[in-house]
């Protein structure tokens, strides 16, 4: 795999469904990633600040209750305000119709419910590989 990668995971907004993101955190750790999980109720500013402090290679946010468009827009705006160019991953209960809109915002990958572990690991690996080459 080469480089040792650090990934920041967080929940944003008031949604508190954390089963998915807690499972993903453990799954990534089991595959050699260093994961920093910020917990619930983070603002876009808080996520970006942590990403800067922790010098991470990617950011992953999970949603269940319909906030993904609002919160991802706020996050992408905050990232560009801080001129931070990181791949952003998004997962959870997200309608497929919204995948294009999220891609337009600049989201690198969207993981829908029912994604199996090996598939997720492979796709995260590809995103980071691209990022390593670009850097």
């Amino acid at each position: 795999m080469g480089k040792h990668h650090r990934i920041l995971l967080a929940k944003m907004g008031l949604d508190c469904h954390d089963t998915g993101i807690v499972i993903i955190a453990q799954l990534l750790r089991d595959h050699g990633y260093e994961v920093i999980y910020l917990g619930l109720h983070n603002s876009a500013e808080a996520v970006v600040r942590a990403a800067l402090q922790e010098n991470v290679d990617a950011v992953g946010i999970s949603f269940l209750s319909g906030q993904h468009m609002t919160q991802m827009r706020l996050l992408m705006e905050a990232l560009s305000r801080h001129q931070l160019d990181l791949p952003v991953l998004c997962g959870g209960v997200v309608p497929r119709d919204d995948a294009d809109a999220l891609a337009k915002l600049g989201v690198a990958e969207v993981f829908f419910p029912g994604t199996l572990g090996p598939d997720l690991i492979e796709r995260v690996g590809r995103v980071l590989e691209r990022q390593d080459h670009a850097a």
């Binding site: 008031l14 942590a50 309608p95 497929r96 119709d97 029912g114 572990g117």
Partner: protein, 545 residues
Amino acid sequence: MPQSPHPAGKFPVTSGAGIEIKETYGPDDIADFDPARDLGKPGEFPFTRGPYQGMYRERVWTRRFQVGFGSPRESNERIKYLVDNGANGFVITIDLPTSYGFDSDDPIAQGEVGVTGVAISTLEDMEVLYDGFSPDALSYALSIRPPVSAVTLAMLAAVAEKKGVAFDKVIGTQQNDPFYQMSGGPLQTITQFFPLEGTLRLCADNIEFISTRMPRLNWMVTNGYNLRETGVNAIQDGAFTLGHAFNVFQMAQERGLDVNIFARRASFFLSASIDFFEEIAKFRAMRRIYAHTMKDIFGATNPECWRMRFSVQSAGNTLTTQQPEVNIVRAGVEALAAALGGAQSIHLCSYDEGHGLPTEASSRIALRTQQVVAYETGITRTVDPLAGSYFIENLTTQMEQAIRAKLAEIDALGGMFAAIRRGWLEEEINQARYQYQRDIDSGRRPLVGVNIFQVPQSEELPVAIHKIRADEWGAARGEYLRQWRQQRDHGKWSEAMAHIERAWRAGENMVPVLTHAVKNGVTMGECHKAMRAAQNWTIGGGGTL
């Protein structure tokens, strides 16, 4: 990935919770079984066969319909439509800002107003929800936990007063579980915006108010559903749920309340998952443990306090995003388990919940599914039809023993509240939910459409998506609240705000105090602000919301 995960002879022989299941069961498997002691009659101790004598023969379970989106007006119009179409009970879901005690115009509410449920910020909002209905005639189950449930209970009391309905005639349910309203286990969910001690005090205030002033109102002691949704198994589900309830009862007894009165209207909200017989056994075992504990440990002498009553929702975490129409079948099987387990009310998940919030059309299919179970299958004709089955009675007893063993573990930790505070519960949940995913990844837990029998994305049927109008709802609510704050009597408002702080510090029951406040224009968010101030507590700094 295996298309057939279990080649001949390799079918899993353990239940979802790991109980070994034998090829056949016979008389030897229930050798110690004593029908008089272990079953009793339906509606009699130990209530294994159900809380009521006639069960569905006399009254089919309540087909609850979940409503709540956007503004109170939109939700009320939808309820009127549904009442005209035969729905007879409603779960009112609340949006996330309201769930945490924030007004719709609080900056924290951006993008969340009206999305997951209805926004309730003012007494007028609650009056609009009850427009055309009286709180002694239509039953709303408010899906809300303390501290917020103390304010919604106060609003309900104020609505009853305004409509001239005596408190002792008011019906419905106030979910009043201090810990598990929110899905998932993290303690952060319940400590981020209000101090935990204050939440527990309001939980006891509500129990006291309901048991002494609104005796027909149910209060929900435990939301076992959200707990189960994290991925814990049926044994953990039973033990954590009951352990939590018993701890709440202890708290009420310490407050000086009489178990023979407050426990009468206690009820539970449980999940019916897909492991069919295990779920039925879980429901039966939980009723038996509850009856014994209430009688023997809490010393309740009123038989009404021995019977465990619960509403059921089908398990959202058994739904798949892939081939979502198959979820209708899953919900149907789970409805059968709930009915054979003796539920008092059932709500089925909509098949599209893996894609987004349910639409009107998908909610209707969910209601129709359980109407088929209720009206076409004939399972309502006789009470507890599985009683006496070698397998079911054996499994019920095994579930009872396993749940009791787990309860003993919780007792050794000092009870459920202590177990939660020290992070033990969160650890149990995290292990269970990670294992759950690994079992799906490995194929040990077959999931049709996900790890077996998949179809390519191109063959998936299109799913209609519930349109979220968060920005529109947020803007309208913001304008409404601006006018509300402008038009209220400022003198009365500030007196009521000060009264909240004084009464909190004096240790008064807060429900009548909050009733006075909401009648004088104090909003949901302001009630919480005043209560936080009385505890010298502010929402955590740092970068969190």
